[in-house]
């Protein structure tokens, strides 16, 4: 496998037995365990998406039955949301980098960190069991009374799986908050922290405050489904909108759990490959915290036409516009960071630039949906599907891949093949737009979501979208190959291949088991790309 130099105590060199991996408390190894697990789930969810797109290539439901289609989009939703997107950056890059970036030896509670991974696997087992036993057809939103009364599929199994994996997120969030508070290196005051750490901190706050609400709501759903008594089923006196309030109280902050870490990664990559400090670092940090806090006040914009009262709709609409302001600030600040920079276009930078464009598109279409009168026409159509895919796939997944490329040399001690990576990034960018831009037009034309068959007037746009999906699917396979190749034949990576700032680049690649041989001290501002020291490093190492 990886030829770690004998005698060196890199975290990969310290034993390669299965037991050493499955009982490790090293945050770096746990990050890799998570990376492998979520990659498996990414391709399961991706397979479901590909099948959906192939089915939708024709208006008639001729490839698969309606039930299978409903189970496919539910499984695509459940797996992508809870088993890929939410853990993606926090559990992999976050786990690996938070201690390294703040100069700590490990997270505050290493055993808890390993327990979080086992909770993830245990929850995954339930979801996979439900998948193989016949799937679930309620949509990832589990709306009642359909999920409690009318669906005859494995709702309990999936709900249990999501309940368990929820605790994996809660414990990871708790671990990060305590680590960032208590284990920062001397001199590393809050406003010298990299924005990636700010993003992980804000994400952890959301994880800790939102996920418990989901856990209990799904428990009540399961109890109601089994006992046929409860507070959600209108036939029994319950209120289905109460379920929607409790579900979206978690699920809207959950979309910020998915996008905030991506914002952190983009800030790191952009500063490095533009050789410029982040423009307005403090307002970027405040924007991250503002998104996390205000993100809890806007969930009602998912319920404008669901029978929610008009006045609540008004309140949620204005608050949704307020939460858009920090996102706008970030996009403008990222753009300004490029001003007078020295920009190079390695793969991570391509993903970061792609992120800015696609996240902006996603964010701006959110402004359409937040306007009450427009939401009446656009909600529950493909406009919404395109909106959140632009943010989740165009934004979060692109940043995740960008981050994987950016820190790959640090994690594995190997360099990935640059040309292949740049090609994959560009292919994914076009494949993505080709797939999801037509869906905005389908949404405006009025094609509802979750349709196995659709009216003939939507045919051409769906064919375009399906064609794009094929490109996107192949695009995602490429990194698998060249990353695997680089593990064995990749050039050996120096400690700081990109001449980036940040404590994680001051340790060897791959890092030592205990991260830092001598405890680091930080006394400089973050993103010191214009300081003499980093200019000399670039000049000499170029």
């Amino acid at each position: 496998m990886i030829h770690a130099k004998p005698g060196s105590s890199s975290y990969l060199g310290a034993g390669m037995t299965l037991r050493s991996w499955l009982t490790t408390q090293d945050h770096k190894r746990i990050a890799i365990l998570y990376a492998l697990s979520i990659t498996v789930f990414f391709f399961i969810g991706g397979a479901a998406a590909t099948l959906i797109r192939i089915e939708l290539a024709t208006p008639a439901g001729d490839l698969i039955s309606a039930n299978t289609y409903n189970k496919l989009f539910t499984m695509h939703g459940v797996i992508m949301v809870w088993f890929f997107l939410i853990p993606s950056i926090p559990a992999t890059l976050g786990n690996f980098l938070v201690p390294l970036m703040i100069g700590a030896r490990d997270l505050a509670f290493p055993r808890l960190n390993l327990a979080s991974w086992y909770l993830y696997v245990f929850g995954a087992l339930f979801t996979l069991a439900a998948l193989f036993l016949g799937g679930v057809d309620t949509g990832w939103t589990f709306y009642t009374p359909f999920s409690t009364t009318f669906s005859d599929t494995h709702v309990i199994a999936v709900v249990t799986g999501v309940f368990i994996v929820g605790f994996s997120s809660i414990l990871t969030g708790l671990n990060f908050i305590v680590t960032i508070h208590k284990l920062r290196a001397p001199g590393l005051i809050w406003f010298r922290l990299p924005l990636f750490i700010w993003a992980q901190y804000a994400t952890s706050v959301i994880l800790v405050l939102a996920t418990p609400v989901l856990a209990m709501t799904l428990t009540l759903l399961a109890i109601e489904r089994v006992l046929h008594v409860g507070i959600f089923d209108p036939a029994l006196g319950g209120d289905p909108l109460l379920f929607q309030h409790l579900f979206w109280f978690y699920s809207h902050p959950a979309v910020y759990i998915m996008i905030l870490p991506a914002m952190g990664v983009v800030s790191e990559i952009l500063a490095c490959f533009a050789r410029n400090p982040i423009f307005g670092y403090r307002s970027m940090a405040y924007a991250i915290i503002a998104i996390a806090v205000v993100g809890f006040l806007v969930w009602g914009h998912h319920m404008f036409v669901s029978g929610q009262s008009m006045y609540a709709g008004m309140v949620f609409s204005i608050l949704s516009y307020l939460v858009a302001v920090p996102s706008a600030i970030k996009v403008f600040n990222w753009t300004a960071t490029l001003y007078k920079g020295t920009i190079s276009f390695e793969a991570p930078m391509l993903y970061a630039l792609g992120f800015i464009g696609l996240f902006m598109m996603g964010g701006m279409t959110g402004l359409f949906l937040a306007a009450l009168a427009l939401d009446v026409h656009l909600t529950d159509t493909y406009f919404v599907v395109a909106h959140f895919h632009y943010i989740m796939v165009g934004g979060a997944v692109a940043a995740y891949l960008g981050g994987i490329h950016f820190w790959w040399p640090k994690v594995t001690g190997r360099l990935y093949p640059e040309r292949w990576a740049q090609f994959a990034a560009i292919l994914l960018f076009f494949g993505f737009n080709f797939t999801f831009f037509p869906q905005f037009l389908l949404g405006i034309a009025g094609m509802p979501r979750r349709y196995h068959e659709y009216a003939p007037q939507f045919h051409t746009l769906n064919v375009l979208s399906s064609a794009g999906a094929v490109i996107l699917a192949t695009g995602y396979l490429l990194p698998l190959f060249y990353f695997a190749w680089s593990l064995f034949h990749g050039e050996r990576a120096p400690a700081n291949p990109w001449h980036a700032t940040g404590l994680e680049w001051s340790v060897p690649s791959p890092p030592l088991v205990e991260n830092f041989a001598t405890a680091p001290v930080v006394n400089s501002e973050p993103y010191g790309y214009r300081s003499q020291r980093s200019r000399r490093a670039v000049a000499s190492g170029a």
Partner: protein, 91 residues
């Protein structure tokens, strides 16, 4: 075993039992909506006593105070907005 250090705990305990008696007793009187307010005010007072005396939150860092407050504020937020929607619906 009784010594000076146990005194605050015992005093708090007595206060808690008194408050319990107060809330139980007051709920038997027909006070209408005041009943609702007094019950929750007393419950909040009892909770505060437990947090301050038994859990000695003052010894903890400021971050802990923020964490504890965040739980309560977020819960109040959830209940307030969901309830206001329910009431405004006029169903």
């Amino acid at each position: 075993m009784r010594n000076a250090r146990a005194r605050p705990y015992v005093l708090a305990w007595i206060a808690l039992l008194v408050l319990l008696g107060l809330s139980a007793g007051s709920s038997l009187l027909a006070l209408g909506t005041f009943n609702l307010v007094s019950n929750f005010a007393i419950a909040a007072l009892k909770a505060a006593l437990v947090v301050i005396v038994f859990m000695h939150i003052r010894r903890s860092e400021r971050t802990v105070h923020v964490a504890a407050a965040a739980g309560i504020v977020w819960l109040a937020l959830l209940i307030a907005l969901s309830l206001s929607d329910f009431l405004a619906r006029g169903s």
